[in-house]
Every structure is written in structure tokens, then in C-alpha cells.
């Protein structure tokens, strides 16, 4: 939990709206673990005022680099996309409680939707290093947003892709791939599920997960101010009526405990 101005090493567009930014930080490369996020000040200015939370997309410890993968959706990310290598990126972090990888399991099934793909790369790298078996079910709207999967395949990951435009993998949603997977595996107690994506996807996966006998971890998003549990802005409602803070108690929660309105 520190603030650091990290040098931007590279910054490239993956698609028209998705960018990858690589920054240098020995400390972050050492401290981050999968599922955590950085709280980014996109520029030194009072507008945009607040920091932007972005998941740690990848860590390359040997190079002391941290990667973020983000989509331009509004004012802050649009400005961020204009940053040049050599400039500094001011970040707070690592923040939040990432995925629990201590829990006993052999096989990880990872369901990612849209920009939910961002934290998944770091997660998979770590799981493979731990010797776990990995199935990745990744769904996006536009097939161009699928990248990097050949390397995962080469390392033994079972990669299943769904795209809404049908240009890569199956035409459809992640649930179209998850349903057949779970039909076989739902009572396999050596599994652990991981899910990252928009709320509507989390909520559909929750319904499916409810019928499985293994645990599920979900990474949530909520608007944030402080990023460390102080402002009480980023609450998530649990089914037991408790309210937790996404930034501080999460962003990773037990999927089955989350209360979704829809």
C-alpha cells in the first residue's frame, strides 16, 4: 500500500478501444498478487478528480514490470490512452484482496467476460506456476479483443472462446460454453471456479454456480473514491444482508454469497 510514480515502458492499442500499458516497478512486481488492483491517477489535474481502479493484468517479475489492460470507456480512460512511454503513471497499490489460491483445488475453471479478461492473465500465469490444471472460458463482444491465448494453450490451458460477433470460437456468451462444461464437472470437488466480468455475467454464472459442489470466487467492480475502505462508497450487498466494500473486503468475493439485484 504505497503511492508510486512508475515509468511507462510501453503503451499500445490492442484494439481500437483496448490498451495495454506496461510500467516499471520493482516493488509492485514483488508485492502484487492475482486479483489485486492499482488505483491510477490518469493525470495530475483536478479533472478527472478521482483515481481509476484497474486490475493487475500481468506481472513479469524478471523484468520488474506490471501490465494493465484497459478499455477506453469514458473521460479518464480516454485521457489515459494518450499517455506516452517515458511518462510517469501515478498509482496506489497493490490494493484489495485478490484471489484465494491457498484453498485446496487442482483444477481451476476461469470464466472471463469482456474486460474481465484483464486480471485473468496474471491469475493463469500464477496457477500454471503452481502446477494447477486450468480451463479458461473467455467471452468478448468483438473477436479482436482475444489475444495471447496461443501461449496459454502451449502451456496446457484448455482455452474456450465465445464471441458475440462469432469471429473467434463459438458465437455466443460464456454461459453457452460454461453449461456444457458444468454438465460434466459440476460435482468435481477438485475444481475451483473463478469469474471476472460485468455484473450481468456474474449474476448468470452465479445461477449456474449454485448447482455446483465446488467453490467460486468472483471479482467485482464498483465505482471507487478512496480504494482502501475509507469512503464507504463501493459497497456490495451480500445475501446475508451484510454490506462489504469492494476495494477493501474484495474485489474478490465468494460468488455464491453475493446478492445481485437482477
Amino acid at each position: 500500500m504505497y503511492i508510486e510514480s512508475c515509468e511507462i515502458l510501453t503503451h499500445e492499442a490492442i484494439t481500437k478501444t483496448v490498451y495495454r500499458i506496461v510500467v516499471s516497478s520493482e516493488r509492485l512486481a514483488r508485492e502484487c498478487y492475482p486479483g489485486q488492483f492499482l488505483h491510477v491517477k490518469v493525470r495530475e489535474a483536478i479533472d478527472p478528480l478521482l483515481r481509476r481502479p484497474l486490475s493487475v493484468h500481468r506481472v513479469i517479475p524478471k523484468k520488474n514490470t506490471i501490465e494493465l489492460l484497459y478499455r477506453v470507456v469514458g473521460h479518464g480512460t480516454r485521457l489515459m490512452s494518450g499517455l506516452k512511454s517515458g511518462e510517469l503513471l501515478n498509482v496506489m497499490g497493490p490494493l484489495g484482496n485478490g484471489f484465494d489460491l491457498e484453498t485446496p483445488f487442482d483444477h481451476a475453471v476461469i470464466v472471463a467476460g469482456g474486460m474481465g479478461g484483464a486480471p485473468v492473465f496474471f491469475l493463469i500465469d500464477t496457477l500454471l506456476d503452481m502446477g494447477k490444471q486450468v480451463t479458461l472460458i473467455w467471452g468478448v463482444g468483438d473477436g479482436k479483443e482475444i489475444f495471447g491465448i496461443e501461449t496459454f494453450k502451449a502451456r496446457g490451458v484448455d482455452v474456450q472462446i465465445a464471441t458475440e460477433d462469432g469471429t473467434v470460437g463459438k458465437k455466443g456468451l460464456v454461459t453457452d460454453l460454461l453449461i456444457p462444461f458444468l454438465a460434466k464437472e459440476k460435482n468435481n470437488s477438485t475444481l475451483c471456479g473463478f469469474v471476472c466480468g460485468p455484473e450481468c455475467m456474474l449474476s448468470s454464472v452465479q445461477k449456474l454456480a449454485g448447482k455446483t459442489s465446488f467453490p467460486w470466487q468472483a471479482s467485482l467492480e464498483e465505482r471507487m473514491a478512496c480504494g482502501i475502505g475509507v469512503c464507504r462508497g463501493c459497497g456490495v450487498q451480500l445475501r446475508n444482508a451484510d454490506m462489504k466494500m469492494v476495494c477493501d473486503d474484495g474485489p474478490v468475493f465468494n460468488l455464491k454469497e453475493i446478492y445481485f439485484e437482477a
Partner: protein, 305 residues
């Protein structure tokens, strides 16, 4: 030569004029990883209520031009847990601790005061009569001079510790309200709480906040806060603690010149966890550059244009 930054608010001695605002600094130690809170002039804890509160529905924060909206709704651990688990943690913290309270009724204010006023770690009490995000009390109380008087008349006999009344800017006439709080026994005033605001997500046509309106804070409101501080300073002789949009030592100096004896920083904490320290050093630098030996010599020194 180091300027003397110390400030006196009633019977309270602050080592410097910079405090962290209620609701933006937790219960005092949340930012301890970033800097030592003992360096602050004081800490104002999150508003506590009689019962714990979860607060309002999500979303309850949003960004606006140079500002942010919140409708947290006084989410807090409740006064019992505050006394049992939060205050004891501050026991050895070498700075002033000001507990902020809010009730749904006049009686609740009194009850809260009775519960906390004698706690040795409570150095002063800030009375929040200005939260825009609650159904009962809150802003409606703060906009009504007679309710403030009632609350003060009920609380004043209960304690000798400084009572600081935190006022809302969402009123027609801040001067009469400030004067009412003073004559009812307030030792100091703090202003401003957030300004009522709203935003709309034009894609979904939903309000940015589930509760529709909320409280605006941050740089956008600085000019409004300065005007209220200035006006209140003309109407009362008790010290005023100024806040609203302070991001730098220079901003803080504006408040001091306009009539505030001390300041608080709120939203800045979220953006720059050690921002309050930078405000302190900015004030100090200003004093050195301008040959000001005691910060108190700056207070209310607005020159004629």
C-alpha cells in the same frame, strides 16, 4: 525560522491548522500506512450514530467536473463499537481526536454526546447537523436555526469539551444560522459540509446516485466554501474551521485569510493519501515566504481590493 503553526479552538490546542474531515479519514488509522496521523493538527472521525448504519443503496459515489458526489448516508459502526473498538486504538496517537456525531432527533444528539463526551480520547465533538444524505435530521436540521439551538441547549450542559457545529452551505442565510449556533453555546463552527448536487447517466437515464441527489465535494466547491466561511466569519466571533475543496497549502491559506482559524481536508485524502501533509507543508512554506511568524496572524486578514 519555522513559523508557529499552532492553533487554539476553544480549549483545544492543535499543533497545526490542518485536520482531516469527517467521513474521509475513517476512524483515524486507515491511512497510517501512508503517513503518521500524529503529524496532523487533528483527526475528525467518521460521523457516528446511535445504531450502526449500512448507509444508502449503491451507487453512492460519482465523479463530476472537479468534484465528486456522495450519498453514503452515514454508514458507520455505531457509537458502541466506536467506543469499544475504534477510540481505544487511538489511545497513544499524539494528535487531537474530534468525534463527529449525528442523531435522527434532538434527543439522539444528546444521548450520543453523553456517551462519548467523557471518553478521555475525545478531545472535542463535531456536531454534524448538515448531512444531505439521510431521511431524518441531517440537512433539514442544519438549515433550521431553531433546531440547532435546541440541539445545542440540550448538549451544552453535558460537557466542557469544545463543541464544534458543522454547518451546511445549502441555506439562504448562513449568517443567521452561524450566529444562532454561537449564541447557543458552540465553541467553534466548521463549514462547509457538502453542497447538494446530482448527476445523470445519459445512457441509462438513471441518476448517478441511487438516492438521486447527494453531496458535492472537492475543488469545484472551494469558491462556495470560501464565501460561506467569509460570511460566517463576519457574523460570529468564535473560531471557524474552513473546508471544502482544499487540495493544496495555497487553498488552505485562502481559507485562513478569509477568516478560518483552521481547515479540514476531505476529498483530497481519497486522491492523495498523504495530501493533508502536503497541505501542512504548503502552509508552512507560504508563511516562510511571506514572513508570517504565527499562522494566527494570517487569520481573517483579507485586504481591500
Amino acid at each position: 525560522m519555522k513559523p508557529d503553526l499552532s492553533v487554539i479552538i476553544g480549549s483545544l490546542n492543535l499543533k497545526n491548522p490542518v485536520m482531516t474531515a469527517s467521513g474521509t479519514f475513517g476512524y483515524g488509522l486507515e491511512y497510517a500506512d501512508y503517513f503518521d496521523p500524529a503529524m496532523l493538527g487533528g483527526i475528525i472521525t467518521k460521523t457516528v450514530t446511535l445504531e450502526p448504519r449500512a448507509g444508502n443503496r449503491m451507487p453512492r459515489i460519482a465523479e463530476t467536473p472537479a468534484g465528486m458526489l456522495n450519498s453514503i448516508g452515514l454508514a458507520n459502526v455505531g457509537v458502541e463499537s466506536f467506543l469499544e473498538s475504534k477510540l481505544p486504538e487511538l489511545e497513544n496517537l499524539k494528535t487531537a481526536v474530534i468525534a463527529n456525531i449525528a442523531g435522527n432527533t434532538v434527543e439522539e444528539y444528546c444521548l450520543l454526546l453523553q456517551k462519548i463526551a467523557n471518553h478521555p480520547r475525545v478531545d472535542a465533538i463535531e456536531v454534524n447537523v448538515s448531512c444531505p444524505n439521510v431521511e431524518q435530521g441531517g440537512l433539514a436540521f442544519g438549515a433550521d436555526a431553531s433546531v440547532i439551538e435546541e440541539i445545542m441547549h440540550c448538549m451544552r450542559p453535558e460537557t466542557d469539551k469544545p463543541l464544534i457545529v458543522k454547518l451546511t452551505p445549502n441555506v439562504t442565510d448562513i449568517q443567521s444560522i452561524a450566529a444562532a449556533a454561537e449564541s447557543a453555546g458552540a465553541d467553534a463552527l466548521s463549514l462547509i459540509n457538502t453542497v447538494l448536487g446530482m448527476g445523470v447517466d445519459i445512457q441509462t437515464r438513471k441518476p448517478l446516485l441511487a438516492r438521486i441527489t447527494g453531496g458535492l465535494s472537492g475543488p469545484a466547491i472551494k469558491p462556495i466554501a470560501l464565501a460561506k466561511v467569509y460570511q460566517a466569519a463576519q457574523a460570529v466571533s468564535i473560531p471557524i474551521i474552513g473546508l471544502g475543496g482544499i487540495m493544496t497549502g495555497e487553498d488552505a491559506v485562502e481559507f485562513l485569510i478569509a477568516g478560518a482559524s483552521a481547515v479540514q481536508v476531505g476529498t483530497l485524502n481519497f486522491i492523495q493519501p498523504d495530501g493533508a501533509l502536503q497541505v501542512i507543508s504548503g502552509i508552512e512554506k507560504y508563511c516562510i515566504d511571506h514572513g508570517i511568524e504565527r499562522i494566527q496572524d494570517l487569520v481573517g486578514t483579507l485586504a481591500e481590493a
